[in-house]
Symmetry: C2
Subunit: 292 residues, 2 copies
Protein backbone atom coordinates (compact mmCIF):
# COMPACT_ATOMS: atom_id res chain seq x y z
CA UNK A 1 0.00 0.00 0.00
CA UNK A 2 1.13 3.53 -0.70
CA UNK A 3 0.24 5.82 2.22
CA UNK A 4 -0.93 9.34 1.51
CA UNK A 5 1.51 10.60 4.10
CA UNK A 6 4.32 9.21 6.23
CA UNK A 7 5.05 11.27 9.33
CA UNK A 8 8.40 10.93 11.05
CA UNK A 9 8.02 11.82 14.72
CA UNK A 10 5.09 11.45 17.12
CA UNK A 11 5.47 14.55 19.27
CA UNK A 12 3.02 17.49 19.20
CA UNK A 13 3.87 18.50 15.60
CA UNK A 14 3.72 14.97 14.17
CA UNK A 15 0.47 14.02 15.89
CA UNK A 16 -1.19 17.32 14.97
CA UNK A 17 -0.26 16.70 11.33
CA UNK A 18 -1.60 13.14 11.60
CA UNK A 19 -4.95 14.21 13.04
CA UNK A 20 -5.41 16.89 10.39
CA UNK A 21 -4.58 14.46 7.58
CA UNK A 22 -6.93 11.85 9.01
CA UNK A 23 -9.71 14.41 9.26
CA UNK A 24 -9.31 15.18 5.57
CA UNK A 25 -9.58 11.44 4.90
CA UNK A 26 -5.95 10.71 4.03
CA UNK A 27 -4.16 7.51 5.03
CA UNK A 28 -1.32 8.14 7.44
CA UNK A 29 1.53 6.21 9.01
CA UNK A 30 3.53 7.69 11.89
CA UNK A 31 7.05 6.54 12.81
CA UNK A 32 8.48 7.05 16.27
CA UNK A 33 11.12 5.32 18.33
CA UNK A 34 9.51 5.71 21.73
CA UNK A 35 7.01 8.27 23.02
CA UNK A 36 9.46 9.00 25.84
CA UNK A 37 11.78 10.48 23.21
CA UNK A 38 9.57 13.54 22.73
CA UNK A 39 11.11 16.37 24.73
CA UNK A 40 7.66 17.27 26.08
CA UNK A 41 7.53 13.88 27.86
CA UNK A 42 9.94 15.12 30.52
CA UNK A 43 8.27 18.49 31.17
CA UNK A 44 7.01 18.49 34.78
CA UNK A 45 4.21 20.94 33.97
CA UNK A 46 2.85 22.57 30.83
CA UNK A 47 0.64 25.62 31.31
CA UNK A 48 0.79 27.44 28.01
CA UNK A 49 -0.90 25.10 25.55
CA UNK A 50 -4.30 26.73 25.27
CA UNK A 51 -7.10 24.64 26.78
CA UNK A 52 -4.85 22.66 29.15
CA UNK A 53 -3.62 23.99 32.48
CA UNK A 54 -1.54 22.34 35.19
CA UNK A 55 -0.88 19.12 33.28
CA UNK A 56 2.42 17.26 33.08
CA UNK A 57 4.11 16.86 29.72
CA UNK A 58 3.43 13.16 29.94
CA UNK A 59 -0.30 13.70 30.52
CA UNK A 60 -0.51 16.19 27.67
CA UNK A 61 1.26 13.79 25.32
CA UNK A 62 -1.17 11.07 26.41
CA UNK A 63 -4.11 13.31 25.41
CA UNK A 64 -2.46 13.74 22.04
CA UNK A 65 -2.06 9.96 21.61
CA UNK A 66 -5.69 9.50 22.70
CA UNK A 67 -6.78 11.98 20.05
CA UNK A 68 -4.80 10.15 17.34
CA UNK A 69 -6.39 6.88 18.51
CA UNK A 70 -9.87 8.28 17.72
CA UNK A 71 -8.82 8.25 14.07
CA UNK A 72 -7.14 4.82 14.36
CA UNK A 73 -3.88 6.34 13.20
CA UNK A 74 -1.18 3.72 12.63
CA UNK A 75 1.84 4.44 14.84
CA UNK A 76 4.89 2.28 14.12
CA UNK A 77 7.70 2.06 16.66
CA UNK A 78 10.62 1.97 14.28
CA UNK A 79 13.48 4.33 13.64
CA UNK A 80 13.58 5.87 10.18
CA UNK A 81 17.13 5.58 8.82
CA UNK A 82 16.64 7.47 5.58
CA UNK A 83 14.26 7.93 2.68
CA UNK A 84 14.28 9.03 -0.92
CA UNK A 85 11.88 10.26 -3.57
CA UNK A 86 11.46 8.77 -7.00
CA UNK A 87 8.66 9.71 -9.43
CA UNK A 88 6.36 11.25 -6.80
CA UNK A 89 6.73 8.34 -4.39
CA UNK A 90 8.79 8.49 -1.23
CA UNK A 91 10.37 5.23 -0.05
CA UNK A 92 11.11 5.14 3.65
CA UNK A 93 13.65 2.83 5.27
CA UNK A 94 12.50 2.19 8.85
CA UNK A 95 15.01 -0.15 10.44
CA UNK A 96 15.44 -1.95 7.10
CA UNK A 97 11.73 -2.35 6.43
CA UNK A 98 10.44 -0.31 3.53
CA UNK A 99 7.29 1.81 3.28
CA UNK A 100 5.91 3.98 0.48
CA UNK A 101 4.08 7.29 0.70
CA UNK A 102 3.04 10.17 -1.57
CA UNK A 103 4.21 12.74 0.96
CA UNK A 104 6.38 12.91 4.07
CA UNK A 105 6.31 15.21 7.10
CA UNK A 106 9.44 15.62 9.21
CA UNK A 107 8.53 16.31 12.83
CA UNK A 108 11.71 15.01 14.43
CA UNK A 109 12.26 17.57 17.16
CA UNK A 110 15.18 19.87 17.88
CA UNK A 111 17.71 19.69 15.07
CA UNK A 112 20.73 17.48 15.62
CA UNK A 113 24.02 17.83 13.89
CA UNK A 114 26.22 15.00 12.78
CA UNK A 115 28.39 13.95 15.69
CA UNK A 116 31.87 13.46 14.30
CA UNK A 117 33.96 15.74 12.20
CA UNK A 118 33.82 14.52 8.56
CA UNK A 119 31.14 11.95 9.52
CA UNK A 120 28.91 12.99 6.60
CA UNK A 121 31.54 12.31 3.94
CA UNK A 122 31.94 8.66 5.04
CA UNK A 123 28.24 7.74 5.17
CA UNK A 124 27.87 4.48 3.22
CA UNK A 125 31.67 4.11 3.22
CA UNK A 126 32.14 2.79 6.72
CA UNK A 127 29.77 5.05 8.64
CA UNK A 128 26.40 3.44 9.33
CA UNK A 129 23.34 4.39 11.37
CA UNK A 130 21.53 1.06 11.40
CA UNK A 131 22.73 -2.27 12.76
CA UNK A 132 20.15 -4.46 11.02
CA UNK A 133 20.63 -2.63 7.72
CA UNK A 134 24.40 -2.86 7.43
CA UNK A 135 25.53 -5.34 10.09
CA UNK A 136 26.21 -8.20 7.67
CA UNK A 137 28.77 -6.08 5.81
CA UNK A 138 31.01 -6.22 8.88
CA UNK A 139 30.92 -9.95 9.59
CA UNK A 140 34.28 -10.97 11.05
CA UNK A 141 35.59 -7.40 11.07
CA UNK A 142 36.49 -4.79 13.68
CA UNK A 143 33.92 -2.09 14.36
CA UNK A 144 33.14 0.76 16.73
CA UNK A 145 29.62 1.47 17.96
CA UNK A 146 28.87 4.96 19.28
CA UNK A 147 25.75 4.86 21.44
CA UNK A 148 23.80 8.05 22.18
CA UNK A 149 21.65 6.36 24.82
CA UNK A 150 21.24 2.99 26.55
CA UNK A 151 18.91 1.84 23.76
CA UNK A 152 21.97 1.55 21.51
CA UNK A 153 23.23 -1.38 23.59
CA UNK A 154 20.71 -3.69 21.97
CA UNK A 155 22.06 -2.89 18.52
CA UNK A 156 25.61 -3.30 19.80
CA UNK A 157 24.73 -6.76 21.13
CA UNK A 158 23.36 -7.73 17.74
CA UNK A 159 26.51 -6.45 16.02
CA UNK A 160 28.81 -8.22 18.51
CA UNK A 161 27.49 -11.55 17.22
CA UNK A 162 28.75 -10.65 13.75
CA UNK A 163 31.92 -8.68 14.39
CA UNK A 164 35.26 -10.11 15.39
CA UNK A 165 35.88 -7.23 17.76
CA UNK A 166 33.59 -4.35 18.82
CA UNK A 167 34.50 -1.14 20.63
CA UNK A 168 31.44 0.25 22.40
CA UNK A 169 31.66 4.00 22.97
CA UNK A 170 28.76 5.27 25.14
CA UNK A 171 27.89 8.98 25.05
CA UNK A 172 25.96 8.57 28.31
CA UNK A 173 26.91 7.71 31.89
CA UNK A 174 26.42 4.17 33.19
CA UNK A 175 28.33 2.11 35.75
CA UNK A 176 28.19 -1.38 34.33
CA UNK A 177 27.90 -2.85 30.87
CA UNK A 178 27.12 -6.48 30.07
CA UNK A 179 28.41 -7.50 26.66
CA UNK A 180 30.02 -10.55 25.07
CA UNK A 181 33.78 -11.05 25.51
CA UNK A 182 34.64 -9.54 22.12
CA UNK A 183 33.23 -6.16 23.21
CA UNK A 184 35.46 -3.53 24.79
CA UNK A 185 33.75 -0.53 26.36
CA UNK A 186 35.76 2.63 25.66
CA UNK A 187 35.08 5.69 27.80
CA UNK A 188 36.48 8.42 25.60
CA UNK A 189 34.74 11.06 23.52
CA UNK A 190 34.75 10.34 19.76
CA UNK A 191 35.95 13.23 17.62
CA UNK A 192 36.56 12.29 13.99
CA UNK A 193 36.86 9.68 11.30
CA UNK A 194 40.04 8.56 9.56
CA UNK A 195 40.05 6.89 6.17
CA UNK A 196 40.60 7.26 2.47
CA UNK A 197 38.07 5.50 0.26
CA UNK A 198 36.72 3.82 3.33
CA UNK A 199 36.81 4.33 7.11
CA UNK A 200 39.97 2.86 8.70
CA UNK A 201 39.93 4.41 12.19
CA UNK A 202 37.94 6.44 14.68
CA UNK A 203 39.71 9.23 16.50
CA UNK A 204 38.91 9.64 20.19
CA UNK A 205 40.01 12.31 22.63
CA UNK A 206 42.89 10.21 23.91
CA UNK A 207 43.61 7.59 21.23
CA UNK A 208 42.96 6.36 17.73
CA UNK A 209 41.24 2.99 17.23
CA UNK A 210 41.72 1.14 13.97
CA UNK A 211 38.31 -0.08 12.79
CA UNK A 212 36.65 -1.22 9.56
CA UNK A 213 33.40 0.56 10.30
CA UNK A 214 31.65 2.90 12.74
CA UNK A 215 28.00 2.57 13.74
CA UNK A 216 26.49 5.70 15.21
CA UNK A 217 23.28 4.76 17.01
CA UNK A 218 21.08 7.72 17.86
CA UNK A 219 17.49 8.11 18.96
CA UNK A 220 16.74 10.26 15.94
CA UNK A 221 18.70 10.61 12.74
CA UNK A 222 20.16 14.03 11.97
CA UNK A 223 17.89 15.64 9.36
CA UNK A 224 20.75 16.23 6.93
CA UNK A 225 21.36 12.47 6.77
CA UNK A 226 17.71 11.51 6.26
CA UNK A 227 17.32 12.66 2.67
CA UNK A 228 19.55 14.15 0.03
CA UNK A 229 18.86 17.69 -1.13
CA UNK A 230 17.16 19.13 1.95
CA UNK A 231 17.97 22.80 2.50
CA UNK A 232 18.70 24.37 5.89
CA UNK A 233 18.66 27.89 7.30
CA UNK A 234 21.85 29.51 8.57
CA UNK A 235 20.87 28.54 12.12
CA UNK A 236 20.64 24.89 11.10
CA UNK A 237 16.86 24.54 10.90
CA UNK A 238 15.04 22.88 7.99
CA UNK A 239 14.02 25.62 5.59
CA UNK A 240 10.26 25.77 4.98
CA UNK A 241 7.84 28.15 3.26
CA UNK A 242 4.60 29.36 4.86
CA UNK A 243 2.88 26.10 3.93
CA UNK A 244 5.63 24.21 5.79
CA UNK A 245 6.96 22.76 2.53
CA UNK A 246 10.71 22.09 2.45
CA UNK A 247 13.04 22.48 -0.53
CA UNK A 248 11.77 19.09 -1.74
CA UNK A 249 8.24 18.99 -3.22
CA UNK A 250 5.92 16.78 -1.20
CA UNK A 251 8.21 16.89 1.84
CA UNK A 252 7.00 19.06 4.70
CA UNK A 253 8.43 19.82 8.15
CA UNK A 254 6.98 21.17 11.41
CA UNK A 255 7.85 21.76 15.05
CA UNK A 256 11.21 22.31 16.73
CA UNK A 257 13.10 21.13 13.63
CA UNK A 258 12.03 24.25 11.70
CA UNK A 259 12.88 26.77 14.43
CA UNK A 260 12.24 28.34 17.80
CA UNK A 261 10.38 28.81 20.11
CA UNK A 262 10.50 25.13 21.17
CA UNK A 263 6.92 25.11 22.40
CA UNK A 264 3.92 22.81 22.16
CA UNK A 265 1.35 25.24 20.71
CA UNK A 266 3.74 26.42 18.01
CA UNK A 267 4.51 22.80 17.08
CA UNK A 268 0.81 21.82 17.02
CA UNK A 269 -0.04 24.84 14.83
CA UNK A 270 2.75 24.08 12.38
CA UNK A 271 1.80 20.40 12.37
CA UNK A 272 -1.70 21.40 11.37
CA UNK A 273 -0.43 23.55 8.51
CA UNK A 274 1.96 20.78 7.34
CA UNK A 275 -0.83 18.19 7.53
CA UNK A 276 -3.30 20.29 5.56
CA UNK A 277 -0.62 21.25 3.02
CA UNK A 278 0.36 17.59 2.55
CA UNK A 279 -3.31 16.72 2.15
CA UNK A 280 -3.74 19.31 -0.62
CA UNK A 281 -0.49 18.23 -2.28
CA UNK A 282 -1.49 14.54 -2.32
CA UNK A 283 -4.89 15.36 -3.83
CA UNK A 284 -3.17 17.30 -6.60
CA UNK A 285 -0.61 14.66 -7.56
CA UNK A 286 -3.16 11.84 -7.44
CA UNK A 287 -5.39 13.78 -9.83
CA UNK A 288 -2.41 14.48 -12.10
CA UNK A 289 -1.52 10.75 -12.05
CA UNK A 290 -5.04 9.87 -13.19
CA UNK A 291 -4.77 12.19 -16.17
CA UNK A 292 -1.51 10.61 -17.37
CA UNK B 1 -1.12 51.91 34.43
CA UNK B 2 0.77 50.97 31.29
CA UNK B 3 0.08 47.34 30.36
CA UNK B 4 2.90 45.23 28.99
CA UNK B 5 0.63 44.11 26.20
CA UNK B 6 -2.83 44.94 24.86
CA UNK B 7 -4.40 42.17 22.83
CA UNK B 8 -7.20 42.98 20.42
CA UNK B 9 -9.39 39.92 19.96
CA UNK B 10 -10.25 37.04 22.30
CA UNK B 11 -10.42 34.11 19.91
CA UNK B 12 -7.89 31.25 19.88
CA UNK B 13 -4.97 33.45 18.74
CA UNK B 14 -5.64 36.27 21.20
CA UNK B 15 -6.18 34.02 24.22
CA UNK B 16 -3.10 31.91 23.38
CA UNK B 17 -1.03 35.09 23.24
CA UNK B 18 -2.54 36.23 26.55
CA UNK B 19 -1.76 32.96 28.35
CA UNK B 20 1.82 32.95 27.07
CA UNK B 21 2.37 36.55 28.15
CA UNK B 22 0.85 35.87 31.57
CA UNK B 23 3.07 32.84 32.00
CA UNK B 24 6.13 35.01 31.39
CA UNK B 25 4.81 37.41 34.03
CA UNK B 26 3.66 40.24 31.80
CA UNK B 27 0.54 42.32 32.47
CA UNK B 28 -2.07 41.86 29.78
CA UNK B 29 -5.38 43.39 28.79
CA UNK B 30 -7.60 41.75 26.17
CA UNK B 31 -10.28 43.61 24.21
CA UNK B 32 -13.21 41.82 22.63
CA UNK B 33 -16.71 42.84 21.66
CA UNK B 34 -18.42 39.54 22.50
CA UNK B 35 -17.11 35.99 22.66
CA UNK B 36 -19.84 35.03 20.19
CA UNK B 37 -18.00 37.10 17.59
CA UNK B 38 -15.18 34.56 17.31
CA UNK B 39 -15.86 32.48 14.20
CA UNK B 40 -15.07 29.32 16.18
CA UNK B 41 -18.11 29.99 18.39
CA UNK B 42 -20.44 28.84 15.63
CA UNK B 43 -18.53 25.65 14.68
CA UNK B 44 -20.79 22.67 15.46
CA UNK B 45 -17.82 20.38 16.04
CA UNK B 46 -14.04 20.80 16.17
CA UNK B 47 -11.95 17.63 15.86
CA UNK B 48 -8.56 18.82 14.70
CA UNK B 49 -7.23 20.85 17.61
CA UNK B 50 -4.82 18.37 19.15
CA UNK B 51 -5.96 17.12 22.55
CA UNK B 52 -9.67 17.85 22.03
CA UNK B 53 -12.01 15.59 20.07
CA UNK B 54 -15.74 15.83 19.43
CA UNK B 55 -16.22 19.20 21.10
CA UNK B 56 -18.33 22.08 19.82
CA UNK B 57 -16.64 25.35 18.95
CA UNK B 58 -18.48 26.92 21.87
CA UNK B 59 -17.14 24.31 24.33
CA UNK B 60 -13.61 24.66 22.99
CA UNK B 61 -13.75 28.43 23.32
CA UNK B 62 -15.04 27.99 26.88
CA UNK B 63 -11.96 25.86 27.70
CA UNK B 64 -9.83 28.67 26.33
CA UNK B 65 -11.61 31.27 28.49
CA UNK B 66 -11.24 28.95 31.51
CA UNK B 67 -7.51 28.71 30.84
CA UNK B 68 -7.19 32.51 30.65
CA UNK B 69 -9.15 32.75 33.92
CA UNK B 70 -6.43 30.69 35.69
CA UNK B 71 -4.10 33.62 35.09
CA UNK B 72 -6.76 36.21 36.01
CA UNK B 73 -6.37 37.80 32.61
CA UNK B 74 -8.36 41.03 32.28
CA UNK B 75 -10.85 40.76 29.42
CA UNK B 76 -12.61 44.01 28.56
CA UNK B 77 -15.76 43.96 26.44
CA UNK B 78 -15.16 47.06 24.39
CA UNK B 79 -14.58 47.64 20.73
CA UNK B 80 -11.19 49.07 19.80
CA UNK B 81 -11.70 51.95 17.37
CA UNK B 82 -8.07 52.72 16.65
CA UNK B 83 -4.69 53.11 18.29
CA UNK B 84 -1.39 54.84 17.74
CA UNK B 85 2.21 54.61 18.87
CA UNK B 86 4.21 57.44 20.33
CA UNK B 87 7.64 57.03 21.95
CA UNK B 88 7.34 53.29 22.59
CA UNK B 89 3.86 53.56 24.09
CA UNK B 90 0.71 52.51 22.28
CA UNK B 91 -2.48 54.38 23.13
CA UNK B 92 -5.64 52.42 22.45
CA UNK B 93 -9.05 53.99 21.95
CA UNK B 94 -11.65 51.45 23.07
CA UNK B 95 -15.05 53.03 22.60
CA UNK B 96 -13.62 56.39 23.59
CA UNK B 97 -11.85 55.13 26.70
CA UNK B 98 -8.08 55.20 26.49
CA UNK B 99 -5.57 52.55 27.52
CA UNK B 100 -1.77 52.45 27.31
CA UNK B 101 0.49 49.49 26.54
CA UNK B 102 4.11 48.80 25.58
CA UNK B 103 3.06 46.33 22.91
CA UNK B 104 -0.07 45.34 20.99
CA UNK B 105 -1.15 42.07 19.42
CA UNK B 106 -3.79 42.09 16.69
CA UNK B 107 -5.82 38.89 16.75
CA UNK B 108 -8.96 40.22 15.13
CA UNK B 109 -9.91 37.29 12.90
CA UNK B 110 -10.44 37.06 9.16
CA UNK B 111 -9.40 40.27 7.49
CA UNK B 112 -12.16 42.70 6.62
CA UNK B 113 -11.95 45.28 3.95
CA UNK B 114 -13.43 48.72 4.15
CA UNK B 115 -17.04 48.52 3.06
CA UNK B 116 -17.61 51.47 0.76
CA UNK B 117 -15.67 52.55 -2.23
CA UNK B 118 -13.45 55.52 -1.21
CA UNK B 119 -14.44 55.03 2.46
CA UNK B 120 -10.82 55.19 3.60
CA UNK B 121 -10.16 58.62 2.12
CA UNK B 122 -13.02 60.21 4.11
CA UNK B 123 -12.13 58.77 7.53
CA UNK B 124 -12.17 61.70 9.96
CA UNK B 125 -13.85 63.82 7.30
CA UNK B 126 -17.39 62.57 7.67
CA UNK B 127 -16.76 58.84 7.97
CA UNK B 128 -16.79 57.60 11.57
CA UNK B 129 -16.65 54.19 13.22
CA UNK B 130 -17.66 55.14 16.75
CA UNK B 131 -20.88 56.77 17.94
CA UNK B 132 -19.65 57.84 21.37
CA UNK B 133 -16.37 59.17 19.95
CA UNK B 134 -17.76 61.39 17.23
CA UNK B 135 -21.51 61.67 17.85
CA UNK B 136 -21.39 65.20 19.25
CA UNK B 137 -19.89 66.50 16.00
CA UNK B 138 -23.17 65.73 14.26
CA UNK B 139 -25.58 67.35 16.69
CA UNK B 140 -28.53 68.71 14.73
CA UNK B 141 -27.24 67.32 11.44
CA UNK B 142 -28.30 64.61 9.00
CA UNK B 143 -26.41 61.33 9.19
CA UNK B 144 -26.47 57.78 7.89
CA UNK B 145 -25.64 54.78 10.08
CA UNK B 146 -24.58 51.57 8.35
CA UNK B 147 -25.06 48.63 10.74
CA UNK B 148 -23.22 45.35 10.14
CA UNK B 149 -25.25 43.51 12.80
CA UNK B 150 -28.12 44.14 15.21
CA UNK B 151 -25.66 45.40 17.84
CA UNK B 152 -25.30 48.56 15.76
CA UNK B 153 -28.88 49.55 16.63
CA UNK B 154 -27.84 50.64 20.08
CA UNK B 155 -25.31 53.06 18.64
CA UNK B 156 -27.93 54.28 16.14
CA UNK B 157 -30.34 54.97 19.01
CA UNK B 158 -27.71 57.01 20.77
CA UNK B 159 -26.98 58.96 17.60
CA UNK B 160 -30.67 59.54 16.91
CA UNK B 161 -30.87 61.61 20.08
CA UNK B 162 -28.26 63.97 18.68
CA UNK B 163 -28.99 64.03 14.97
CA UNK B 164 -31.80 65.92 13.30
CA UNK B 165 -32.39 63.07 10.90
CA UNK B 166 -30.84 59.58 10.76
CA UNK B 167 -30.96 57.05 7.94
CA UNK B 168 -30.38 53.56 9.32
CA UNK B 169 -28.98 51.15 6.71
CA UNK B 170 -28.85 47.55 8.05
CA UNK B 171 -26.54 45.04 6.32
CA UNK B 172 -28.47 42.20 7.95
CA UNK B 173 -32.01 40.87 7.70
CA UNK B 174 -34.61 41.80 10.30
CA UNK B 175 -38.37 42.28 10.10
CA UNK B 176 -39.02 45.14 12.48
CA UNK B 177 -37.01 48.06 13.76
CA UNK B 178 -37.96 50.26 16.70
CA UNK B 179 -36.39 53.68 16.48
CA UNK B 180 -37.37 57.27 17.26
CA UNK B 181 -39.43 59.18 14.69
CA UNK B 182 -36.40 60.94 13.18
CA UNK B 183 -34.96 57.59 12.04
CA UNK B 184 -35.71 56.21 8.59
CA UNK B 185 -34.71 52.60 7.91
CA UNK B 186 -33.37 52.27 4.37
CA UNK B 187 -33.15 48.79 2.86
CA UNK B 188 -30.64 49.37 0.11
CA UNK B 189 -27.01 48.33 -0.19
CA UNK B 190 -24.51 51.17 0.40
CA UNK B 191 -21.87 51.51 -2.31
CA UNK B 192 -19.84 54.68 -2.06
CA UNK B 193 -19.22 58.07 -0.51
CA UNK B 194 -19.72 61.44 -2.16
CA UNK B 195 -17.98 64.57 -1.00
CA UNK B 196 -15.18 67.03 -1.52
CA UNK B 197 -13.40 68.19 1.63
CA UNK B 198 -16.07 66.49 3.64
CA UNK B 199 -18.74 63.80 3.10
CA UNK B 200 -21.95 65.21 1.58
CA UNK B 201 -23.81 62.06 0.49
CA UNK B 202 -23.89 58.29 0.64
CA UNK B 203 -24.55 56.42 -2.57
CA UNK B 204 -26.85 53.41 -2.33
CA UNK B 205 -27.78 50.87 -4.98
CA UNK B 206 -30.96 52.69 -5.89
CA UNK B 207 -30.54 56.26 -4.65
CA UNK B 208 -28.25 58.92 -3.26
CA UNK B 209 -28.90 60.29 0.24
CA UNK B 210 -27.54 63.71 1.17
CA UNK B 211 -25.92 63.43 4.61
CA UNK B 212 -23.38 65.31 6.72
CA UNK B 213 -21.75 62.16 8.03
CA UNK B 214 -21.74 58.37 7.77
CA UNK B 215 -21.23 56.07 10.76
CA UNK B 216 -20.15 52.55 9.84
CA UNK B 217 -20.73 50.30 12.84
CA UNK B 218 -19.00 46.93 12.57
CA UNK B 219 -18.23 44.17 15.04
CA UNK B 220 -14.53 44.52 14.31
CA UNK B 221 -12.69 47.39 12.71
CA UNK B 222 -10.91 46.71 9.43
CA UNK B 223 -7.21 46.34 10.22
CA UNK B 224 -6.17 49.05 7.79
CA UNK B 225 -8.23 51.59 9.77
CA UNK B 226 -6.91 50.58 13.20
CA UNK B 227 -3.44 52.06 12.93
CA UNK B 228 -1.54 54.08 10.38
CA UNK B 229 1.44 52.50 8.63
CA UNK B 230 0.52 48.83 8.87
CA UNK B 231 1.68 46.82 5.85
CA UNK B 232 -0.37 44.12 4.14
CA UNK B 233 0.39 41.22 1.81
CA UNK B 234 -0.99 41.13 -1.72
CA UNK B 235 -3.81 38.86 -0.52
CA UNK B 236 -4.84 41.45 2.07
CA UNK B 237 -3.37 39.83 5.19
CA UNK B 238 -1.32 41.71 7.77
CA UNK B 239 2.34 41.22 6.88
CA UNK B 240 4.37 39.57 9.67
CA UNK B 241 7.84 38.09 10.05
CA UNK B 242 8.52 34.71 11.64
CA UNK B 243 8.23 36.26 15.12
CA UNK B 244 4.75 37.53 14.17
CA UNK B 245 5.96 41.13 14.25
CA UNK B 246 4.20 43.50 11.84
CA UNK B 247 5.76 46.41 9.96
CA UNK B 248 5.42 48.46 13.18
CA UNK B 249 7.87 47.63 15.98
CA UNK B 250 6.11 46.35 19.09
CA UNK B 251 2.96 45.52 17.14
CA UNK B 252 2.38 41.82 16.51
CA UNK B 253 -0.41 39.89 14.77
CA UNK B 254 -1.61 36.28 14.85
CA UNK B 255 -4.40 34.04 13.63
CA UNK B 256 -6.72 34.39 10.63
CA UNK B 257 -5.74 38.02 10.13
CA UNK B 258 -2.22 36.99 8.99
CA UNK B 259 -3.33 34.23 6.58
CA UNK B 260 -4.84 30.84 5.90
CA UNK B 261 -5.62 28.15 6.92
CA UNK B 262 -8.38 29.56 9.16
CA UNK B 263 -7.91 26.91 11.82
CA UNK B 264 -7.74 26.82 15.61
CA UNK B 265 -4.36 25.08 16.05
CA UNK B 266 -2.64 27.39 13.59
CA UNK B 267 -4.12 30.41 15.41
CA UNK B 268 -3.11 29.09 18.85
CA UNK B 269 0.44 28.39 17.63
CA UNK B 270 0.81 31.83 16.13
CA UNK B 271 -0.72 33.41 19.23
CA UNK B 272 1.95 31.70 21.29
CA UNK B 273 4.74 33.01 19.07
CA UNK B 274 3.25 36.53 19.10
CA UNK B 275 2.86 36.42 22.89
CA UNK B 276 6.42 35.25 23.51
CA UNK B 277 7.80 37.75 20.97
CA UNK B 278 5.88 40.60 22.61
CA UNK B 279 7.17 39.46 25.99
CA UNK B 280 10.78 39.57 24.77
CA UNK B 281 10.20 42.93 23.08
CA UNK B 282 8.73 44.51 26.23
CA UNK B 283 11.63 43.28 28.35
CA UNK B 284 14.07 44.86 25.92
CA UNK B 285 12.42 48.28 25.73
CA UNK B 286 11.88 48.48 29.49
CA UNK B 287 15.57 47.79 30.04
CA UNK B 288 16.49 50.39 27.43
CA UNK B 289 14.19 52.93 29.14
CA UNK B 290 15.98 52.35 32.46
CA UNK B 291 19.36 53.11 30.90
CA UNK B 292 18.20 56.45 29.45
Amino acid sequence: MIYDCAIIGAGPAGLSAAVNLAQTNRSVIVFTTKEEDSSIYRAPEVNNYLGFFGVSGKELLQSFYDHAAKYNIEIVRKKVINFYKSENIFTINANNEFYEAYSVILAIGTPKKTLLENEAEFVGRGISYCAVCDGMLYKGRVIAVVGESAEAEEEAEYLSELAKKLYYIPLYKKDEFHFKDNVEVVLSRPKGVHGEDFVNAVELEDRILNVDGIFIIRKTMPADQLIYGLEFTEEGYIKVDKNMQTSIEGLFAAGDVVGRPYQVAKAVGEGQIAGLSASTYVKRIKEADKKD
